[in-house]
């Protein structure tokens, strides 16, 4: 019955609707990171409430708490007039909180109707699956939302957008009262987006509350009744959707404490003539499109953009990990375009992947074996010199200050920062000239972060080429000499030293500035 927000922080929506959700003081911390801090949020029936923020602002954590995947440390969730400290996934679904993720989870071999009612099937009186009532109900549900799909169509025949819509219908079939959408338009064309946004308005008109998360400000302005900005886990503000000034919104998304910045020491010019790396027309259909840029030796070239913009895919292509449709890589004028990682390593490339546990390290093996693996790939002959190996590995472990009781320790027992240093040690022993970093400090403590920054700076000052994909704004702005921004698989612009700012990076990443 207490449907009004306490303290009346937010302007009450014009139409007086039932309050579905009130979140107060939501806090969630992970080791070393505050993912959400004292966040307030509410949602009324029939409202579309958008949530915006950079990568890592806390949006995903927020959804996970709401869908019951994570338990908050503090705070209350008031859902339909009952108060909860935390939810289980089952509870969230039973209460009518339905979450639709970027890639909707549907069974390709089943029909639309079967997918919609998967897990809560219509049964006949004798306990068998009731095909006709399933199809009838699916059709009725879709018609009520203005969707004309045939429920007997097999899902694998649908386009991404159509699947996304079926995913939403499936969520609604379980009596959803709150619909959470996480980046539903990430892989859709503009006409498909329009269709989806139209659908959202129809759903909202059925008195469902919608929480809509998107990187695309245009859509947010178009569809949002209210817009809440999250930054570094905190709620910055909540605006009326129709009246908000977009410049203000962008500023609110990026503004940040200066103390978080790492101050990169100015690099002293290298004695040798710097060698340039030229990336020419790198293309993989549907992923990365005609990327061309040049990096000078001694330079740190940052690559910014939103998640899904094709940044990881680009560095994977450069390392010869995936097959490209076009593109050449020239180092000092020489064509070194690799087609396999081994080929890339031989040409002095290395890739520090974004997920070190999954793709960077062999966790069950020792520090020694992990550090030596790439170095050994470059050596001829079938045998290893174990004594020499011990010496080389011990030296680099000492030099990078990898904290481990022994080089025989399994890497799985090391901290995140030390694991990342093991990855770096591996590549430093190959004498690589071109370092491709993908999210170099994700999930790493502050101390190790600084050490990794120092190492990157020293690599650059030795005339090597450093390319760094990063979603960490302070990292990107303080470490990079130039920043290339990717959006939708293209490099939309390159910011020169004087132009680098969080506002500029973000505006280009989300396409707020049209060139």
């Amino acid at each position: 019955m207490s449907g009004r927000p306490r303290g009346a922080r937010h302007p009450v929506p014009q139409k007086e609707h039932v309050k579905l959700l009130e979140i107060r003081g939501l806090t969630k911390t992970f080791p070393g990171v505050v993912a959400l801090e004292n966040v307030d949020f509410d949602l009324s029936a029939g409202e579309i409430h958008c949530l915006v923020g950079e990568n890592g602002a806390g949006k995903s954590t927020f959804i996970k708490v709401l869908s019951g995947a994570l338990a908050p440390d503090r705070g209350t969730l008031r859902l339909f007039d009952a108060e909860y400290q935390s939810l289980t996934p089952r509870q969230a679904i039973d209460l009518g909180v339905q979450t639709v993720y970027q890639e909707s989870i549907l069974v390709g071999t089943l029909t639309i109707g079967e997918n919609i009612y998967l897990g809560h099937e219509n049964l006949t009186r004798t306990g068998f699956f009731d095909v006709s009532s399933t199809m009838r109900r699916a059709r009725e549900l879709m018609v009520s939302l203005g969707i004309g799909f045939n429920p007997r169509t097999v899902v694998s025949e649908l386009s991404t957008a159509e699947r996304q819509i079926v995913g939403i219908v499936k969520a609604l079939s379980k009596d959803a009262r709150i619909l959470v959408l996480d980046e539903p338009t990430a892989s859709l064309s503009s006409s498909e987006k329009e269709m989806l946004l139209g659908l959202l308005r129809t759903i909202a008109a059925h008195e469902v509350g919608i929480i809509y998360i998107s990187h695309h400000l245009e859509e947010v302005f178009e569809v949002g009744d209210r817009i809440t900005v999250l930054k570094d886990g905190r709620r910055v503000s909540t605006h009326e959707g129709k009246t908000v000034d977009r410049e203000l919104l962008i500023r609110e998304m990026v503004g940040r404490d200066a103390s978080l910045f790492y101050r990169r020491e100015p690099a002293e010019p290298s004695a040798n003539r710097p060698k340039n790396l030229r990336v020419e027309n790198y293309t993989r259909k549907g992923v990365v499109d005609g990327i061309t840029f040049e990096v000078a030796g001694g330079e740190i070239f940052g690559i910014g953009g939103m998640v899904g913009a094709g940044r990881t895919e680009l560095v994977r292509l450069l390392f010869g990990l995936d097959t490209r449709d076009a593109g050449r890589l020239l180092y000092d004028g020489r064509d070194i375009t690799p087609s396999t990682p081994l080929h890339a390593i031989r040409h002095g490339l290395c890739l520090i992947t974004e997920d070190r546990q999954k793709t960077g390290l062999i966790l069950v093996r020792s520090v020694k074996e992990n550090v030596s693996i790439a170095r050994l790939a470059l050596k001829a002959g079938p045998f290893m010199n174990l004594r020499e190996e011990d010496g080389v590995v011990s030296d680099i472990v000492r030099q990078l200050r990898i904290m481990t009781p022994s080089i025989r320790q399994e890497v799985v027992n090391l901290s995140g920062g030390n694991q990342q240093k093991v990855v770096l040690a591996k590549w430093m022993l190959t004498d690589a000239d071109i370092f491709l970093f993908d999210e170099p400090t994700r999930g790493i403590d502050i101390g190790s972060k600084e050490e990794i920054y120092r190492l990157m700076t020293s690599l650059a000052s030795q005339g090597r080429i450093v390319i760094m994909v990063s979603s960490d704004m302070p990292e990107l702005t303080s470490m990079s000499d130039r920043v290339g921004i990717m959006r939708g698989g293209r490099m939309v612009c390159i910011l020169e030293r004087g132009e680098i700012s969080e506002e500029a990076i973000l505006s280009h990443s989300i396409g707020a500035i049209q060139r």
């Binding site: 390392f319 990990l321 990682p341 081994l342 390593i345 031989r346 890739l351 992947t353 999954k358 793709t359 960077g360 390290l361 062999i362 966790l363 069950v364 093996r365 074996e369 030596s372 693996i373 790439a374 050994l376 790939a377 470059l378 050596k379 002959g381 079938p382 045998f383 290893m384 174990l386 000492r398 030099q399 200050r401 904290m403 481990t404 009781p405 022994s406 320790q409 027992n413 090391l414 901290s415 030390n418 591996k426």
Partner: protein, 327 residues
């Protein structure tokens, strides 16, 4: 420039105690073997005689050679369950050639090479088509077994005692199969420790993607693993043929599962990435010991099957306790 840094213990491990025993599979197996030997000796003093120990080792030599191959395959994170059918195909072919009057040496060599070729085929198919090795070698099992049924018509082919030296003879009082088996394990130990390929097999099993990203040709490593497995199976098949003096398509059937069991007991996880030659050898010894013990205690062969199954299950559970305790 860098001042000495204290080596901080990241994950303090409590030394000694149960945890250490369970986390060290080799030590655990050695202790288990000693205890079982003690019990058997107490019940039947005939156990602890040179004759019986040589007998046990002789019995396990062929399974041990085959298990060495299975260990390589499983460390790389794969399986090969076509091993028994490979043995059937290779022994029957060799025997058939001898029966048809071909020279003994070349017939035996062809038998050996058939296993190498089967291994090569398994390796290429699995690595190039990126199919799960378990199901793919199941298919190959059927093919190899079928071929040997076709060529022999399902009838036993006898060598008529022409090739008994390797399987039945002895050198300086030690049965030849034991010598072959020891040689295999010494080479396996050296291979895993000192060669690049040995190191890479662990890497591929530990994390294939990370290994590939670090410049390891993972396809080639897998193919090499299957070729080596084929060679070891071929060696085992030749020793077995020599000992039996005759071959059937079903010769060697079931060997693959015993080998997998021994390798797992010997400390290679089903996910791969870990293991040692000594551990696998002790795993085979443990299994041979159990079967010998049951014989000495006059337990019927039918019950023996059940008991062996139970002991494998217990050994695998116990060897996993280390992991459970760590959680």
């Amino acid at each position: 420039m860098s001042e000495p840094q204290p080596r901080v213990m990241v994950a303090p491990k409590r030394a000694g105690g149960l945890r250490k025993i369970f986390s060290n599979q080799t030590l655990f197996l050695a202790i288990l073997i000693v205890i079982l030997s003690g019990i058997t000796t107490a019940l039947n003093p005939a156990f602890l005689t040179v004759g019986n120990i040589l007998n046990v080792l002789n019995q396990i030599s062929v399974p041990a050679i085959v298990s060495a191959g299975a260990a390589l395959v499983m460390i790389s994170g794969n399986f090969d369950i076509s091993v028994g059918a490979m043995i059937g195909l290779s022994t029957t072919t060799a025997a058939l050639l001898v029966v048809e009057g071909h020279p003994l040496q070349s017939s035996i060599l062809i038998g050996f090479l058939i296993c190498v070729a089967c291994g090569l085929a398994n390796g290429i198919i699995i690595s190039k088509t990126r199919t799960p090795s378990f199901i793919m070698t199941l298919a190959m099992l059927s093919i190899y077994h079928g071929i040997s049924l076709i060529t022999t018509g399902g009838i036993t082919k006898s060598l008529a005692g022409t090739f008994a030296g390797l399987g039945r003879g002895a050198t300086l009082g030690v049965p030849n199969p034991i010598l072959v088996c020891f040689a295999v394990y010494v080479v396996l130990y050296l291979f895993l420790r000192y060669t690049k390929l040995g190191r890479r097999i662990f890497a591929v099993g530990g994390n294939e993607e990370a290994a590939y990203l670090s410049g390891v040709n993972t396809d080639r490593a897998k193919i090499m693993v299957y070729i080596m497995n084929g060679a070891l199976v071929g060696l085992g098949a030749v020793v077995l043929l020599s000992r039996l003096g005759a071959a059937l398509p079903s010769t060697g059937s079931g060997m693959e599962l015993r080998a997998i069991a021994a390798v797992v007991i010997g400390g290679v996880p089903l996910t791969g990435g870990k293991g040692s030659a000594i551990g696998v050898f002790l795993g085979v010894v443990l299994m041979g010991l159990i079967s010998n013990m049951l014989n000495l205690l006059n337990i019927s062969a039918y019950y023996q099957e059940v008991v062996i199954g139970l002991i494998i299950a217990i050994a695998v559970i116990v060897s996993n306790l280390g992991k459970l305790l760590r959680k």
